[in-house]
Amino acid sequence: MTAQSQPMPDSALIAKMITGDESALATLYDRYSPMLFGMLMRVLNDRQAAEEVLQDLFLQLWRNAGQFDASRGSLPAWLMVIGRNRAISRLRGRRDREVMEEEEGDFAATFASPQNIEDEAARNQLARTVSAAMQQLPAEQRQAVELAYFEGMTQSEIANKTGIPLGTVKTRVRTAMQTLRQILGSTLGSVLG
């Protein structure tokens, strides 16, 4: 691969945004909107609502570009966390996640790795890895994690919805997260930190 074919790093695009360069935002939008929109659609199951959240998310990125230290944080992870919080808040009419987001507005800066998934092939590879890891979970564990992640349910809410005892739900979610951490740990360590 030649140097010219390398995508511009997120950090450079953020620096350009700070100077008012709209094209940098457009590039980041093109880079990350498909993965974000896929997640938002899964949460909201409503194209218009998902598009509104997506647009607001990138508008926030534009407004607050100066506050994001890309050399210390992962932009796609930040976008995924904030996007999911907003989508679930919208889905469930809860404000608590957004309050949390504001209270911990500097959390992105605590991410240890400067590495990002700026290359499309790397993004696709990571998505395949995560999907494969999820498929490796037993169906009941995967269901519990998906209810928590995509529907924003707590363990108690999952127990109520599924009719499964709370203790069983807790065990399933904990075991699933432990497994995911083990499966994804090395991959994410090299890709996102």
């Binding site: 498909p34 929109f37 508008l59 534009w62 506050q67 507005g105 904990r174 996102l192 930190g193």
Partner: protein, 255 residues
């Protein structure tokens, strides 16, 4: 420190949002006093966030991007208005009328340039862009000032701080506000930053404001449904910060 350090699964569950009840309270109490665990929670959030990648990627409609870029262009520079009125009209109405007048003037100037067919294509484009910004701001302003559930908040200078005053008309339902005001110029390397202070939780960034925003209001877009206890302007490092660190310059309670 409150209690023992949580195990990694607890932090994963917290990041996932699955904890509730006593488990959640216990962990949150610990996190308040433990920076190391907060950092681990940040890492857990990053890890957990990637579960979203198991959803197949999808393409939003092209108009989402074009609407985003339109908004960005509209926000790029605070819109200007004509000279401030000294009448007794509400300041919200003054700004609405001001924007309407500015829009009309710009529209006329645009027409004149086009009619004369001068070699001023660049100027014409600039005027059209500004006209577009003003129309967008006027529309937002009309929404806020015309809504019966909008609140008008006056922000007053603080003891020992620079002289100034500002106004915010805010509609929590829309998540839309209009700021105008005037403060003594910020020192070199510093910016004024506007914050919405909610009833609970940390202040919410409402963006940077100019020292002299008296002749040009700024439309502030926040998350719809976010109720305000107060608005405040602080003096911050140039470019702004995620959470307020500098002194409060102007403060106004809502309601």
């Amino acid at each position: 420190m409150t209690g023992p350090h949580p195990n990694p699964e607890d932090l994963d569950l917290c990041a996932l949002g699955a904890l509730d009840g006593e488990e959640k309270q216990t962990l949150e109490a610990h996190l308040r006093d433990c920076p190391a665990c907060r950092q681990q929670l940040a890492a857990a959030r990053q890890r957990t966030a990637l579960i979203g990648l198991s959803a197949p990627a999808a393409a939003p409609r092209p108009q989402v991007k074009s609407a985003l870029m339109d908004k960005v262009r509209a926000e790029k520079h605070p819109v200007s208005q004509s000279s401030p009125s000294k009448s007794g009209k509400s300041w919200g109405l003054r700004f609405s009328l001001g924007f309407a007048l500015a829009t009309a003037v710009l529209a006329f100037a645009t027409y004149e340039l086009a009619r004369q067919d001068l070699d001023r294509g660049r100027q014409l484009k600039q005027l059209q862009a500004q006209l577009s910004q003003n129309e967008a701001a006027l529309q937002a302003m009309g929404q806020v000032t015309g809504a019966p559930d909008s609140a008008q908040i006056t922000l007053l200078q603080q003891p020992g701080g620079p002289p100034g005053q500002a106004h915010v008309t805010y509609n929590a339902r829309m998540g839309l506000g209009v700021y105008s005001g005037q403060i003594a110029p910020a020192p070199a390397g510093k910016s004024y930053q506007l914050w919405l202070v909610p009833a609970s939780g940390s202040p919410v960034n409402a963006g940077l404001v100019e020292a002299n925003q008296e002749n040009g209001a700024v439309v502030v877009r926040l998350t719809p449904g976010l109720a305000a206890k107060a608005f405040a302007v602080t003096l911050e490092p140039q470019g702004g910060v995620p959470q307020p660190t500098g002194p409060k310059v102007l403060v106004g309670a809502a309601g």
